[in-house]
């Protein structure tokens, strides 16, 4: 009798395993049978936990999985289900949609939780967190018991907390709520509020956890606003620095300043294209910094020597002349490069989000631009204060005739100063290529802002330019959440107009004879 029972059990077990076997072979071809069936098949493969599925699902996610006319799914020249070699001719790539991507992320996460590779386990824990389900709980508990890296453990605990919210047991759910409340992220907050809508009896616990999260998020938001303000300020600073020299120091109302910025951005693009297939490709952005400075400085010298120097002391004519030059430069660039925007790639270290200590997220490109802006400012100030060129420049600005009698070639100092200001605009172009479009009109968007910064900060004062840029950036970002992007800009403009009425010389007015 017992033997018979055992035999039946054995048979059932064999049949079950055989069924699982055929199911794998059946499921794989369904991956190519349209979005709906594919999503179900992915879910089933993830739930079965068959390690053979992992490379197939990864290939699907990376777009390497093919499907031929007979409906067979091909991976690297072999039938993904059976391993039989088949030619990939005539096979087409299996496409994904968002629903499939979500399911795929969850299934790969489940399968990769026990991977020997730490990076894969980290990605898996994050994926399981985002696609939580009650069935993940034992899996995560198992993975946690084997995990030794604290950072991944934390991620897994978070994922476990999220999945526990879906278990139909109030004590387990409470444990999940506490973990998520401690995480303090917007994602955790969303999960908690979702659970609250589904389970009203947990509301008091969830409300307490959400309140903790909200306190942390308020700090984070305040920090984010300040960071965004600084970031906008640093962009304004970069755009205005060159103008602070050409307009602030030399008094040339240079309407072509924006086009210098644009030429700097196009130089960045050219450097990138020149280095594209060489070993230096990764260095194209740092190498663009000197290249853009040199190119725009040369353009500046040519403009100053050929045109602008004839109009010194005639601001209205200079304004019209430089405005016309700006339009000509724009059209020239449009003729050479076309009306299309040019794509300047961001190197990996300028992409994505960095976490500062305390879990405060900052975007990498903005952080680098703040650093770059401050560095350019520092170099400029040092150059003016401590180099011979800086000394001569200050001398010519303060008293041209006495400077000339001392043997300074004032004409060449003018050219060098204009070139220096134009070069700084070129540097701004390098930075802007990372956050804005490299198009012929790039500069026009910044010319007004640059003049605003220089006038507000005080004509002729680099410290004024720094303070002016950062103030405008911060005020803009503080107003934006309440007034919207358009009204915030208008409000800032009105504020500056009123300020200039009261203090026509800006924040840091030059005093004494040098002011004239």
């Amino acid at each position: 009798m017992i033997a018979r029972l055992l035999a039946v059990l054995l048979f059932c077990a064999l049949a079950a395993s055989a069924r699982a076997q055929t199911r794998f072979e059946e499921l794989v071809p369904r991956l190519g049978a349209g979005f709906g069936p594919a999503a179900e098949a992915v879910q089933a493969l993830g739930a079965q936990g068959d390690p053979r599925a992992l490379p197939i699902l990864r290939a699907l996610s990376d777009g390497r999985l093919l499907r031929n006319a007979e409906g067979r799914v091909i991976l690297d020249g072999r039938d993904a289900a059976t391993g039989e070699a088949i030619p990939a001719e005539g096979a087409s790539r299996i496409n994904l949609n968002n629903r499939l991507r979500v399911v795929l992320r969850g299934a790969i996460g489940r399968l990769a939780l026990s991977s020997p590779n730490a990076a894969e386990r980290r990605a898996a824990a994050d994926a399981v967190f985002r696609t939580r389900s009650a069935e993940n709980v034992p899996l995560l508990e198992d993975a946690l018991s084997n995990e030794s890296i604290p950072e991944i453990r934390a991620l897994m605990e978070l994922a476990l907390g999220a999945s526990r919210l879906l278990v139909d047991d109030v004590t387990v759910q409470r444990a999940g709520i506490i973990v998520l409340g401690g995480a303090g992220t917007p994602e955790a907050r969303a999960l908690l509020l979702e659970a609250r809508a589904a389970k009203p009896e947990l509301a008091p616990d969830i409300d307490a956890a959400v309140a903790t999260i909200d306190r942390r998020l308020a700090i984070r938001r305040a920090f984010e606003t300040v960071f965004q303000g600084l970031s906008l300020g640093s962009v304004l600073l970069l755009a205005a620095l060159g103008l602070a020299i050409t307009f602030g120091v030399m008094g040339v109302i240079n309407m072509a300043h924006g086009e210098m910025v644009m030429i700097g951005a196009y130089t960045t693009f050219m450097v990138q294209e020149a280095l594209r297939h060489t070993a230096w490709a990764g260095w194209s952005l740092p190498l663009s910094v000197p290249a853009a400075f040199i190119v725009t400085a040369l353009v500046g010298v040519v403009l100053e020597r050929c045109l602008i120097r004839h109009l010194y002391g005639r601001p209205l004519e200079t304004l019209l002349l430089t405005f016309g030059i700006g339009m000509m430069l724009q059209q020239a660039v449009r003729l050479i490069f076309g009306a299309q925007n040019r794509e300047v790639l961001s190197p990996a270290w300028m992409q994505g989000t960095l976490l500062l200590p305390g879990g405060l997220p900052v975007t990498a490109n903005r952080l680098w631009i703040i650093v770059f802006g401050l560095a350019v400012l520092a170099v400029t100030m040092l150059a003016i204060r401590f180099t011979r060129f800086g000394l001569e420049m200050r001398a010519v600005v303060q008293n041209r005739r006495i400077a000339a009698t001392m043997g300074i070639r004032t004409g060449w100092v003018d050219a060098a100063t204009f070139a220096f200001g134009s070069g700084l605009a070129g540097l701004a172009g390098v930075a802007l290529s990372q956050i804005d479009n490299v198009s012929p009109n790039l500069g026009t968007g910044y010319i007004i802002d640059s003049f605003m910064v220089v006038v507000f900060g005080g004509v002729g004062s680099l410290v004024g330019t720094l303070v002016g840029a950062l103030t405008l950036g911060l005020v803009n970002k503080l107003l934006e959440p309440y007034a919207g992007a358009v009204l915030a800009k208008v409000a800032v403009l009105v504020g500056i107009m009123l300020f200039i009425q009261r203090r026509p010389k800006g924040l840091f007015a030059l005093k004494g004879r040098a002011a004239e």
Partner: protein
Amino acid sequence: MTLPRITRRTALAGLAGSLSLPAIHSASAQGAPIKVGVLHSLTGTMAISETALRDTVLMMVEKANSAGGIAGRRVEAVVVDPASNWPLFAEKARELLAVHKVDVTFGCWTSVSRKSVLPVFEELNGLLFYPVQYEGEEESRNIFYTGAAPNQQAIPAVEYLMGADGGEAKRIVLLGTDYVYPRTTNRILRGFLNSKGITDADIMEEYTPFGHSDWQGIVSRVKTFASQGKKTAIVSTINGDANVPFYRELGNQGIKAEDIPCVAFSVGEEELAGIDTKPLVGHLAAWNYFMSVDAPANREFISDWHTFIRNPRRVTNDPMEATLVGFKMWAQAVAQAGTTAVDAVRTAVIGQKVAAPCGFTLEMLPNHHLTKPVMIGEIQENGQFNIVWRTPAPVPAENWSRYIPENANRRR
């Protein structure tokens, strides 16, 4: 006073002149070229989008001429540049109609430029084919609209986001550039969402100026808005190159399409040409044509385009297809009417059918709009769209939206 003496030579010349005169006359009637006005910005902010449309019209003109012209007459393009300057559009339209006396005009991209030329075309009884999707709420006897009306783009796209394949969004962010098209479209969408039970508390609406480049604040506000425990999606009516920094910021702040999908109404293949698309894979766009459509008419369109522009890497997009459809319908109408007289052509255009590159046969309706299939595409790494959803048949345009109360009863 002496009478001119009739010599043999003058008599012969006079005879030849009187004989050849009717021949010359009829030749000039046949040979006078049909003039096609092209009113697209070739400089300024909109040059990025509109230059390709000018080239599309020139391509169609060249194609028509190599096929022996339209109704036996040669076609000649008159190109003017309104320079992305809205009042200049009206001046240039007047120049085309009054000075060049064009028989038809293809032009405009932004709604504000179309609104600026509309009175000119009505006053001088011109004919304008407008090839871009727009907000509707307009109808002119002098304009044919070959782009989508809101019910052919915006509403189906939002319905998709709210459906199972789109992720069942329950909260919607409406982001747009600050001008008439996004504001009207979002007003229609708000009415539609309200009718589907999504309250104003679950809708966030923000506008930015043309060419906006600092998206940090808005994207982080979207993230906060999305942390309310309901699936959130973004509907973008952002126009022009402001899209590039917007998508870059989405990528940098780690918003993936799986978490917060973004569907755009003004981002096509041409706009993606300037972006690194890897972080954007899975975000969506709704159009009536994608370059990736697999249809014989589309293959012909793409190969014609590559031959004409002499660059096999150039892309095609929806407004280009709409330009092509408009041109073909106008050419068929001229052939059918046997004249280019505006009033005759206007009646002949209605009911014209064209097998379009989108893979369907489109028809011009009496409301001057087209029937169009609706397609939703996901951005792929190569900058093309993978079509994930499409209507089984073309949808007739409703230019007066039922979700704008004061115009709802104007629908036919």
